[in-house]
Symmetry: C2
């Protein structure tokens, strides 16, 4: 039955979801035949093992061993907080870059831990074996969780490695991944941030691009450079147009298993509403910024953050708006529906799931405004006040009945946020709060109970002014006093921001509960059933959703049609870096916040550089966030570049893989070497990276 079901469904889906080069594959299930057929190459077991052992997991990203003596490469933006951590006011390595002239000068980053996947094991049978016949759904879930947890502990004890349970295919498979953890990681070299993220927020997600987005660390063990089991040597020869690339790394999250109804919602309502709200926030901040130079300074960062969000969402929307993309989702869904209809067990279990999700989407639609608006309205002060109001209430409850951020695992972080000493700028916070309240007033209307409770008929501007001017919550000590004083201190508190939070609290709680019960839990339950049906029908002919665990993608160096109406050049060169710099007026004009200015040594040493060397390139691998810092490999398993972004036109890839526009962006190995040798005084590191 299953084989029959699978083959008919495969036929139906062949032209749909299983497009050439789509996929973030687990290492046990790389589609070797498909690769071989499409590209005349498939990695062998030794190739894969080497790539697996050389690839490292960074906090939030990826990296790789690239020398015999334990040099590790990742993106500058992945390593940035580590670089900042070892910087000081006197030695600002973010701004000025850093090169350790000798290994003695390499700087340890306390707390930075890298993970190498040593091995992994399919424990599905053992996990499912924990489920006894006749067990209820919840008991079975618990039994599986317990079994996984026990397995993890036993494996850690047995191997001495860090073991993590991994759920693939939403429960189709359970695995234990065993990691070796490296805790002595030292900074070896990094360029200036101005070159590492040349073009700043404006050029983020776009291409052509000129970002030297890499940094070098070195792993030590027992005080000595570590000799890795495997490393990826820098390729002697760079890529050409059409060359096949492979990329290893840890894609974080994708929404590709959402139903058509969910994606239509994202396209027609969810994303447009968020964009509208972001635009409104941006305009309010711009108005605030225009009031004084100091206001302009304060507003710059939040405005950049908003613009970044607008760009990412606009890119996703573009992908969803392309008819062919949602058509593909619809066709895959039809095929799966047909397959489910033929299988009595799956029909009983998942036949109604599309309908259930569609109903939840309808509920999500009716809750859209309230779920977006009954919150702390972008005010850090109101956010803190709300947490303070809730803390005594929530901590008095049993752990499993609390709001998630007050549950055992999260409470510490919640308290830490509250006592973060970073200063809160009252004028900025007031402007954001006023704009947020204005938005609620306009979107919900003056008669909405939430609006009445918060505004009481007054103008948003006045309410925000009164609460911000009167509050003491910007003062860390005041927050600590309330935190430590508990329920009694809070009850006695007359702070106007606390009063506003008290008014907000019940509305926010109600809408959060509604969304959780009527939307999120339905998506989770029925999304899981559909995943089960999909896995039953298609098994491992498909790749599992992204889980921030090791995956392999592949595809050639290739152009794509840009949103500006031309075709993207597969490579950029140092020539273009200086073209874009000068095209914006160089360092003297510093247009648009100086995004295209260059550090002085990049001007002084320009004549040393072979400007024809490639700098960045694009390639048709299937990556998302989490792949930052992923090594890009040639078919010989050599390092040819480091992934750092996906292009704007392909951001829809979070939802649907579009072979026309899904392109990843990498720094070319030749650009890294040229920079190390000619600008960064790091010829010795270049030599180490190219040694055989």
């Amino acid at each position: 039955m299953r084989t029959l079901l699978r083959s008919s469904l495969l036929l139906l889906l062949a032209a749909g979801t299983l497009r050439s080069d789509e996929g973030m594959w687990t290492f046990d299930n790389v589609p070797l035949q498909k690769m071989k057929a499409a590209h005349g190459f498939a990695p062998d077991a030794a190739w894969l093992k080497k790539a697996q052992l050389a690839t490292l997991r960074f906090p939030g990203g990826t990296g790789a061993f690239v020398s015999r003596d334990g040099l590790v490469i990742t993106n500058h933006h992945v390593g940035r907080s580590a670089i900042a951590q070892v910087s000081s006011a006197q030695r600002d390595f973010i701004k000025d870059g850093f090169t350790a002239a000798t290994r003695d000068q390499e700087i340890k980053v306390p707390g930075l831990e890298l993970m190498m996947l040593v091995s992994s094991e399919d424990v599905t049978a053992r996990v499912n074996g924990a489920v006894k016949p006749g067990m209820a759904e919840a008991a079975a879930l618990k039994a599986r969780q317990n079994a996984l947890s026990e397995l993890r502990k036993a494996e850690e004890a047995r191997t001495g490695l860090t073991c993590e349970p991994v759920t693939l295919y939403q429960g189709g498979e359970y695995w234990i991944y065993r990691y070796k953890k490296f805790s002595d990681v030292r900074l070896a070299a990094a360029p200036e941030v101005q070159v590492a993220s040349f073009g700043g927020d404006a050029d983020n997600y776009t291409y052509p691009r000129w970002d030297l987005d890499f940094a070098l660390f070195r792993v030590y063990e027992n005080g000595k450079p570590y000799t890795p089991e495997a490393y990826l040597p820098f390729a002697a020869e760079g890529l050409k147009i059409g060359d096949l690339t492979l990329v290893t790394g840890h894609p974080g999250t994708t929404f590709r298993q959402q139903t058509y109804a969910q994606m239509r919602y994202a396209r027609d309502l969810g994303i447009p509403y968020r964009l509208k709200s972001l635009e409104r926030q941006k305009q309010a901040l711009q108005a605030f910024a225009a009031t004084s130079p100091e206001a302009r300074r304060l507003a710059a960062d939040p405005i950049y953050g908003i613009e970044n969000g607008q760009k990412r969402l606009t890119g996703q929307l573009l992908g969803l708006q392309k008819d062919a993309n949602l058509q593909k989702v619809l066709e895959a869904e039809k095929a799966l529906k047909a397959a489910v209809a033929k299988d009595p067990h799956m029909k009983a279990r998942a036949g109604g799931s599309w309908g259930a999700i569609e109903q939840a989407v309808a509920r999500q639609t009716s809750l859209l405004k309230e779920s977006s608006l009954l919150d702390a309205r972008n005010s850090a002060l109101l956010g803190h006040a709300l947490t303070l109001v809730r803390l005594p209430q929530e901590t008095a409850k049993p752990a499993d009945q609390r709001l998630p951020e007050f549950a055992e695992g999260s409470l510490k972080a919640t308290r830490a946020r509250l006592t973060n000493p970073r200063p809160i700028e009252k004028p900025l916070d007031q402007a954001r709060l006023a704009a947020g309240l204005q938005e609620a007033l306009e979107e919900l209307g003056a008669q909405h109970p939430f609006v009445k409770a918060l505004l009481g008929g007054r103008a948003p501007e006045a309410v925000a002014r009164e609460a911000v001017e009167g509050t003491r919550l910007h003062d860390l000590e005041a927050r600590k006093a309330l935190l430590e004083g508990g329920a009694a201190a809070l009850a006695a508190c007359k702070d106007p921001m606390i009063a506003l939070a008290r008014a907000l609290e019940p509305f926010n709680r109600r809408v959060r509960q509604q969304v959780e019960r009527e939307v999120a839990s339905v998506f989770s339950e029925h999304g899981g059933r559909l995943a089960e049906a999909r896995f039953k029908a298609l098994g491992k002919t498909q790749y599992p959703d992204a889980t921030f665990t090791l995956r392999l993608s592949y595809g050639p160096v290739a152009t794509y049609p840009t949103g500006s109406g031309t075709k993207a050049q597969p490579f950029t060169t140092f020539l273009g870096l200086y073209d874009r710099h000068l095209g914006w007026g160089g360092n003297t004009v510093a247009a648009e916040g100086g995004a295209w200015t260059l550090p002085q040594r990049w001007l002084d040493r320009r004549s040393r550089i072979d400007l024809d060397q490639p700098f960045n390139f694009i390639y048709a691998c299937d990556t998302v966030g989490g792949n930052s810092g992923s090594p890009v490999l040639n078919t010989r398993g050599e390092f040819v570049g480091i992934n750092f972004d996906s292009v704007f036109e392909g951001q829809g890839g979070y939802y649907v893989y579009d072979p026309d526009t899904k392109r990843s962006v990498a720094v070319d190995v030749r650009g890294i070497l040229e920079s190390l040798r000619k600008v960064m005084d790091a010829g010795h590191l270049a030599d180490e990276l190219t040694a055989r």
Copy 2:
């Protein structure tokens, strides 16, 4: 009344159509106060007179005197047919470029005529004076036409100049423009086409751009270089970001006076339908191209043409799809409606015009498919056959009852097309005809009388094959024989393509007549009445629609948000030219038809070039097609660049001026000089251009 009407309407429109820097202004009506207020500069009378006399009209474009000895600059693409005309198989100046080392070597282009606007005169009162009280509409029209025609003749006799009548504001004003005509025009220098249109069709309309799109001619009179009344000296100092520019030239056509209903039609039906049809044609040609190397060669040009059309229309659609743009049209329309409602005469005359146009749009909608499909289906052979079938019928009628292409003024050109010796490639023509018939079948259905008459139940492929294989019309002599043989020869003709044309003829005639009577004539009549109302209300606070006569636009060097999600760099440099060249693999790879390859001397002489020099730049002037070759001037009236394109994202400017995206693209004067001196062996011309 008029003053009152105007002031209220101006208030209403202030935030709408009259946005900063919008407008293609006639030289008698440059908005000096507005310019001064916005930019702190307005040209004086001497500035304007010099710019007027230095600007020249080329066939289909613009150019300008740029030296004391009569050097004229225009775009390479404006001068291209002239350069081709003086080339030969041995001396291909298109491919290899050309530089006259001495004036003796400058090559005369027979037939090339340039026009300089010497003076112009408002003759509105005299033209309207020809209309006698009580005259019927048609008689009044005729009287005005006669008066203009008489004035033109009298002025030509009086002045010895070439005089042209010009109708501005759709009849709000009548002018006589007096031109001095130059008929001895010689080619002085031109770069290789590969540099002049670097990036080819792919980069057309897009930015950043690196096109050296200029050519130099010299005007002679009496065998000697002409000393122009005025010329635009090359600026010693180039532009910076934010600098104000002014551009003079001959914008050809705009659709900005269309009603909201017409633009909505273009957005929702007209342009999407054309795009769909072009995509279908492209796919058919691509399938044909895949059949053999020869087929690929034959299909390359038509495919490029189609892609160019797709890009232009997609850009226009983007502009129309931006809500703010059509909102502006709607608001201007509401304001004009309110103004018309207050004026009894205009109300009687134009009050119903919006409704009439909306009805005609409804008719246009119902005729969309037939008006697009009942034609020669992209077949040159069927097109010739249709002309041959019609010639005897049409020429037998009185001239004013014929189809337009057979009327007195057009008949010669129609016959010339029929006897054009350019070979017709049968396999290509057959592929296009088959695809066109297939489209008609699918869009109209098998039961449509047109489809029945043409296909008779057979497959489109078979009908096309039979007609193309059996026809003799690819043979120029066969066409000539039918042309000269007249009705008798035609009646006896058994050619299968003629038979197909006989079947097509009545359907094509019917739908053309329907469109003319029920759509086009209504647009013309009621569009004219609305223009009259607009002129009565707003007068010369607005600029007239484009008429391919001399205009002035102004705006600063400025970035814009690109369709790839970033901000465009205001300038490009030679560095970027080589970056894009190498980023596509240089001359060895020749990706995408070799669009980014460079002539050998541009590689050999690269080290001579100061690569930091600006190459192209963008500026916020209001230009459209016809402005090609327009000189870009700084406030001192010096030449700082030559306009050659508008960016993709601003193509909506044909319909609505959008200040966010309307950017023109020019070659920077510094790029021209650097190329002349360092690559083109034309230092003597650079010296002449920079002499004071």
